[in-house]
């Protein structure tokens, strides 16, 4: 547990230098300047996630991690845990900034919880696909993977916003609202299953990797 906390601390220390970039992006793409918050919720958590993982992508930095008194399994677990923590923090930041700008513009906070939850779940799924690829391609495919990730995040956020706002989806949305518990359980179980599969694949790859 101590190792996990120390690895999380390490990520916080490393990402500190990007804090201004993240905050500027968050403010510029908040509802203070944009009508919809798609660019904010769609891209900011993804950007934080990519920044976080880019820091450890170089083979020399992976050698550093493996030279620490932490076994490889913990390194993979911490990569997943920290990624999810940072994604959630990214969403919290988005909600906070958007809430504040809504309050400034309209005098009240108008969060679209369906949109935020949909984005969060899809972002988590993207992360669960990204991480095994990250371990598989390692430093060789780092840049390509990050560009592809941003494209998926951008395309994904537009697609989700489209689905939610589409008139054809109204029926589906209404059904989901009336069966919230079932939808939550289904979503949660799907994410957990994907998390397990994704983690096992990443672990399998990283345990055998020569650095």
């Amino acid at each position: 547990m101590h190792s996990m906390a120390t690895l999380l601390r390490k990520d916080f220390q490393l990402i500190q230098r990007y804090l201004w970039l993240i905050l500027i992006y968050a403010v510029v793409f908040s509802s203070l300047f944009h009508k919809d918050s798609q660019m904010l919720f769609g891209l900011l958590p993804g950007m934080i996630f990519i920044l976080l993982n880019s820091l450890d992508m170089r083979i020399s930095n992976q050698q550093f991690l493996v030279s620490l008194p932490v076994n490889r399994r913990f390194l993979v677990i911490s990569k997943y845990t920290n990624s999810l923590i940072f994604i959630v923090l990214g969403f919290v930041l988005c909600m906070f900034i958007n809430g504040m700008s809504d309050l400034y513009n309209n005098g009240q906070i108008g969060w679209n919880l369906q949109f935020v939850t949909g984005m969060l779940f899809s972002m988590i799924l993207v992360v669960l696909i990204y991480l095994p690829l990250y371990y598989w391609l390692a430093h060789r495919g780092a840049q390509i993977l990050n560009v592809a990730m941003m494209a998926v995040v951008m395309g994904g956020s537009t697609a989700i916003a489209g689905i939610i706002n589409d008139s054809d989806s109204v029926e589906l949305m209404n059904w989901m609202v009336s069966h919230q518990a079932a939808v939550w359980w289904f979503g949660l179980c799907s994410v957990l299953l994907c998390l397990f599969i994704s983690y096992r694949i990443s672990l399998q790859i990283f345990m055998k990797r020569d650095l």
Partner: protein, 289 residues
């Protein structure tokens, strides 16, 4: 005498390179020099000990722990100095220390400050702005700041100026005063080992050539210099490597006694240095100058 590291029958095959059935030990309480030309397998062995590379065959035990892909805790007792910078170079040395220190329960802030001052390293300088020597010094300072039982250093003196190289060797001699501590030190600058090493392990092209005390190694080999006319097939067979010049030859004999019986007083004998042993062994056969 127990070993801090035991490497047993380790093999690893890459596309263009093979490490074959390497077995040696690093005795506790001593400095062991791992020597060999570039591509001999020194870094691969060190990376295996650090769990960065998995052997195809064989086993490695470090401070009593048999390594597996699940091992990790044993590194709390190891100070590792890589031949390249493995730290995050976009941050300062001070920030890097803040990242590393919490991983080690025996981290000693006073020792860290002492080494940073001794090595004249500014904490606020970004690692990417440091020279190769500074990066190496920082890596050494980090490795020594938690008092590890075992220091593993991959080419630590490469890129260092002669003054600091000598200071580092003094530092290592001081560190090894505690008989529970051990050092594995890979280098191709054998003069460093002439000064401080107790044991020598020599790798060449992925094979173990020898692993013994430095004194035994130096006593066993003999450098022979004589006229080319003495070189016939039988003589060549007795020599590990031969270098022929316009005026004669010099060769390295594997067994001192046998060489003296063979050549008698027809040649000049000389005590070879580690560098000469490495040179003749890695070049082998006939070399013309």
């Amino acid at each position: 005498m127990s070993n801090a590291i035991e490497v047993t029958g380790v093999s690893k095959t890459y596309k263009n390179y093979k490490l074959s059935d390497v077995t040696f030990g690093v005795p506790k309480g001593y400095i062991t020099g791992l020597i060999g030309p570039n591509g001999a397998g020194k870094s691969t062995i060190i990376k295996m000990i650090m769990g960065m590379v998995q052997p195809d065959k064989g086993s490695i035990s470090v401070l009593g722990n048999v390594l597996s892909p699940h091992s990790g805790d044993y590194k709390e007792e190891i100070g590792y100095v890589s031949d390249e910078n493995i730290f995050y170079d976009c941050i300062t040395m001070g920030r890097m220390k803040q990242i590393i220190a919490p991983f080690y329960s025996r981290w000693d802030e006073d020792a860290y400050t002492k080494y940073m001052t001794l090595f004249e390293l500014p904490e606020r300088k970004k690692i990417k702005d440091c020279s190769k020597g500074m990066k190496m010094k920082f890596s050494i300072a980090m490795a020594l700041s938690y008092h590890p039982s075992l220091l593993i250093m991959d080419e630590p003196t490469a890129g260092l100026d002669p003054v600091f190289r000598r200071e580092l060797l003094d530092l290592l001699s001081e560190y090894i005063m505690d008989e529970e501590k051990s050092i594995l030190f890979s280098t191709h600058l054998t003069t460093d080992l002439d000064r401080v090493a107790d044991y020598i392990t020599f790798l060449n092209k992925g094979n173990l050539v020898l692993s013994d005390t430095k004194d035994d190694v130096l006593e066993r080999y003999l450098l022979v210099k004589g006229a080319s006319s003495l070189l016939d097939a039988d003589v060549r067979k007795e020599l590990v490597g031969v270098r022929e010049t316009a005026v004669g030859f010099e060769g390295l004999a594997r067994e001192r006694k046998k060489a003296m019986e063979l050549f008698g007083d027809r040649v000049l004998y000389q005590q070879p240095t580690l560098e000469e042993i490495m040179y003749f062994t890695s070049k082998g056969g006939n070399q013309h100058a």
